[in-house]
Structures are given as structure tokens and as C-alpha cells.
Symmetry: C2
Subunit: 333 residues, 2 copies
């Protein structure tokens, strides 16, 4: 009896001290995932690699999970949100750039002239990125992104951009971390565009964000030091660049990868080609009511070759419309 | 009385369950550091940034500590150990390269002809690196490095290379981690040369190793996938490259940095220029008996400008001869 009382005491004190035994962890589940094939595949995979008695057990330090961002963790229509940020920044910076009133592609952005913008093509887009992303310190850019994320609104939904992250995917990140996974973003987005907000949005700290990189230079301005952002693309973290970046930054092959487009194909191939049990997932945008429906014909997040390969190889294809009970935090669950 | 018994029970069970309260952690100390200015500075800094009631308190997630490797965590004489690895690899690979018998700088390495080797200069060194580090997959290279580390011996000490890591610095890494720091290597060494052994040697996992990077290419060879190492220098992680790499890979400014040469100067400047309390340390090679003594005139690990700046700014300069009771694990403590 005394032992039993002592045990009760132990439990009570442990809880008070935040000193719970492993099996007493707060349950982390996937409530926004419908009971369907994707949810089952995720749970079966996590159970297999985390059960020490399973032949597929993977030690905790090797449980690396990588996620694309645009279209995988948040929306990407009608345009990558980083490009919408660049448009907003052109408006914000225009007063100190009177020449933009007559110079393309800035004129097109300021006037909302989509045809002229489209005509400016890839070179025009790079001009916009250079004008809004570089020529300032890393700290200054980080502040501009942070400030934009707090007040900018999406053109069609009117939501804050960080409200357009996917609740089921945030639950998946929590679920994986609760099972000892280390979660990374591996995105075509520019790395410093993501870092100011990924911790709050996804629980992913700056050092676990891998992305496209612009040039950076260490500048000693008479005893004060800055890291200045240069108008130069140093690394394009897309397609075959993704496995290269995973090796460069992480140095381990992931055991789980999630993407949504052909730009993620090589990351999924690299992840699944390793020995042991592996998981590859694709978010398939099938919900024109709550989000957007697109795949093979979209210019943003085109999912064509990766869809074929996923079907051929039995990767998990998440049907957003059927498998997600809720998409955004503002949706009714 | 019953409460007191319950408390005893709690303590006993907690210890059995490995569920100790934070203050009951196994003590991690710095036994190989003599009671001197460097040890005092380290302890004072760690106490200041980890005490929640201190004005200098730093939240755990921002306790980033970065360490140079060559000359800071292990020795670097008579030549960076990675170069000695390249020499050993030339000998190991020579049977399948008969042309090396007559081609410089390979001939010089095979014959131990130091004059001819020196004459081949920087271009010759790059030829050796390309021949021994590239043209194979990341996995193959990792295996070669791991195998070398297990059997290769240093030319003058006869020790295994991983026995030439510094006991006091390994204790410092442990001490910092026990106080919530995340420890990184930021080295001029090639990143894939370090990753196969840094976990065992320093407790630093692959994803916390930043280094010089050679090119890598994702190759789809008919459904099997490889990351192939290319004969191309992509990033030189030395001097001003170190703060750039810290930002690119980690995305946070460290609060503690340790180096030993002018190649670490900008990393120390960047670390100490941030707001709040910061720590910059230099390992000063002053022990010609147990290790080597060198600074301003050495071609390896030259410490000149950084020594002046450290003295001017009051950074911690570790006098190895006076402040380290033990250097290698084989030394008598």
C-alpha cells in the first residue's frame, strides 16, 4: 500500500516537474487526416521504423524527414508566395525608385499589367528578385520578410500568408517529431525568405531550412561587420539540386520525403533508393473548393513525371480533397 | 513522514528510470584544463548565458557554438591531415594508375620527393585532391575516409589520426552541450572528409559539420541513383567564407567561436559583433614538446592578424603549454 501511494506521488510529482516517463508523452496524432490510405501508410511507416523490435527499426539520429515547402506545406497559387512578396516589395520600395514608373518589369508590377509582366519572362523575374531580395544585409532582409508576413494578404483569399499553411501537414511534422524525427525544409524558395517564419509556422528552426541561395559577402565596414546579399544566384535548390543540397547541408540520406511537384522528383528518388524502409509522399492538389486543383498542366507546381513515377512505385499520393478534413486553420475541421 | 518517504521513493525511482531532475545531471567538467584564465573565461561565459536570472541569459535554441577543426580540435602539423590522407590515397590508388610513376605531382608523392612536391605548388595540390577526393560517389568516398581513419598513422607521432584530437577541446564540447549548446564544426577541411568520423571523435553529427565543398552531381544511372563527386571547388570555407557559410548552413549568428589561425579571424569577428555576451577563443600552439609550437611564421595555421586582434579585443587565447594538463588521450594527464 505504501508502495502504491509512493507510486502515485511519483506520478503526480513527475507530472508537476514535467518529468514524465517516455510512454506518458502527450499524444500527438493526425486528427485532420481522414481515415484513408495516406494516413494508414504514414502511421504504418512510423510504427515500423520506431519500434525497436521491428526489422525496419531506424535509430533516432537517422530519422531525417525532408519537406518541400511551396505546395507541400503551404499553398502556391496563383503564384509562389515569394514572388507575391517581391511584388508587394516593389510597391513598398517604389517611392525611393521613381525610375520604376517607366522601367519594366517594375512598371508592370506597379500597374498590375499581367501581360507586360508575362512578357518580361525569366529575366524580368530575376530583375524583381534582385531588386527586392539583395543589396541589403541578411538582417535587413529578414526584418522585411518578417514584417511582410505579419500584415500582407493573399490576393484572392485575403488571408495572411502564414494562415495558408496546411494544418494536416503541420500535424504530420509534429507527429514525426514526437516519434524522434528531425524535420527539414528542402525548398526551391530562397533560404533567407523562409527562415524568419518557419519556426513559428512549422516548428522548424533556421538551421533546418535548406533552400535556393543567393550570393552573400562578409563586409568589414571599419570595424562593424555585415553579411550583404549579392545580386547573384549561387545555388538553385530544385530538381536534381535537392538531393545535392540534402547531402551538402544534412549529410545523411532522409528516410522520409514529401513533395508536390516534378521539382521534388529527384529528392523522392534519392530518399527511396536508400537501404531499408523508406517513405515518399506527394501532396496532390485536388480540391478546387477549399484550395486549388491542378497537376499536369499547371505552370506553378506542375506534377506530371513525379505523378507517373509515384503511381508506378507505389508512393503515397495524398488526395487533398478526400484525405484532408481541414486544409487551413480557418476551415471548419 | 509519509511525504518524506514518498520523496525518497521518487528520487530512487527517478534515478532508476533515468528520469533525473535537471540539477541532478551527471557533472560535466573541464578536468584537462588547468585552473587559469582560459578555463575561468569559459566557465564565466557559460554561467552568464545559461543562468535564467542573468542579464546575459541566452535561450537554449540560440546557444550556437562553432569550432574550426584543423589546429583547433586536432593537430595540423606537419601538414593538414586531409593532405596526408591525399598522400596516403595516392599510394593506395597507385597500382591502378601506372602513369603516376612519371607524372607530377604524383611521382613526387610516391617517391617522397618533398622538393618536387613543393615545386608543384597550389596547382599540384589541387591535382592531388581531385585524384583522391572526386570521380567517385559520396558513399564510396565516405568509406575510404572511414577506412583510412581506422588504420593510417601520423608520420612523426605514429598515432592514429583520431588519437590526435585534443582532450581539453573534446571536454569543452561536452561541457557546452551539457549546458544546452549546439556544437558545430566550421572548417576549411572538405565537408565529406570530416563527416565519417566527427560523431565518434567529437560527438558532432554529420548535419552539424560545415566545410569546404567540392561539386556534387545527382546521377540517374538507369533507375539507380548516385551522388557523384566532381573535380570542382564549389565553396572555400576559409577566412571571410566562414561567416558566409555559417549564415548559409546554420542561419543564426553563433555566440561562441573557437579557432587557431588567421583563417578563423572573420568567424571570430562575426561572432563577437552580435548583440549580447559573446565568446571568442584561439588555441595558441605553444607546446613544442607535447604538440608543436608555431604562430606568425607558420605556413600551416598561421596565426598573426588574429593574434593581434585577439589581444586588442581581449579574446581568450589558450596557451596550450600552460593551460592544457593533457593534450592527446595518450598523454599522461
Amino acid at each position: 500500500m505504501r508502495r502504491w501511494l509512493a507510486w502515485l506521488w511519483l506520478c503526480a510529482l513527475c507530472l508537476l516537474a514535467g518529468c514524465a516517463a517516455p510512454q506518458a508523452k502527450a499524444p500527438v496524432d493526425l486528427p485532420s487526416w481522414a481515415d484513408g490510405p495516406s494516413r494508414s501508410a504514414i502511421v504504418a511507416f512510423v510504427n515500423a521504423v520506431t519500434d525497436p523490435s521491428s526489422p525496419d527499426f531506424v535509430p533516432q539520429e537517422e530519422r531525417i524527414a525532408v519537406f518541400d515547402n511551396d505546395g507541400t506545406l503551404w499553398s502556391e497559387q496563383p503564384m509562389y508566395f515569394e514572388v507575391l512578396f517581391a511584388f508587394d516589395e516593389v510597391h513598398a520600395l517604389a517611392p525611393s525608385h521613381p525610375e520604376w514608373k517607366t522601367r519594366q518589369p517594375f512598371k508592370a508590377v506597379l500597374e498590375g499589367d499581367k501581360a507586360a509582366l508575362a512578357k518580361s519572362g525569366h529575366a524580368g523575374m530575376m530583375d524583381l528578385i534582385v531588386a527586392t531580395h539583395t543589396g541589403m544585409s541578411v538582417d535587413q532582409f529578414s526584418q522585411r520578410v518578417g514584417s511582410w508576413m505579419q500584415k500582407a494578404r493573399h490576393p484572392s483569399t485575403g488571408m495572411l500568408y502564414n494562415e495558408m499553411t496546411y494544418v494536416p501537414m503541420r500535424q504530420l511534422l509534429d507527429y514525426l517529431r514526437a516519434h524522434g524525427f528531425k524535420t527539414y525544409i528542402v525548398s526551391g524558395g530562397e533560404v533567407e525568405f523562409m527562415r524568419p517564419w518557419t519556426q513559428a509556422a512549422y516548428g522548424i528552426p533556421p538551421e533546418q531550412v535548406v533552400g535556393t541561395a543567393l550570393g552573400t559577402e562578409f563586409v568589414d565596414a571599419g570595424g562593424t561587420f555585415q553579411l550583404m546579399r549579392l545580386p547573384k544566384l549561387e545555388f538553385n535548390d530544385d530538381g536534381p539540386g535537392k538531393p545535392v543540397a540534402i547531402q551538402r547541408y544534412i549529410g545523411r540520406r532522409p528516410i522520409l520525403a514529401f513533395g508536390n511537384s516534378d521539382g521534388d522528383l529527384q529528392m523522392l528518388q534519392w530518399t527511396t533508393a536508400g537501404p531499408g524502409k523508406r517513405f515518399a509522399g506527394l501532396v496532390h492538389h485536388t480540391d478546387s473548393k477549399r484550395e486549388w486543383a491542378y497537376d499536369r498542366d499547371s505552370s506553378i507546381g506542375r506534377l506530371d513525371k513525379a505523378l507517373d513515377e509515384a503511381r508506378a512505385k507505389g508512393w503515397t499520393i495524398v488526395d487533398m480533397q478526400k484525405e484532408w478534413k481541414q486544409i487551413y486553420v480557418t476551415d471548419k475541421p
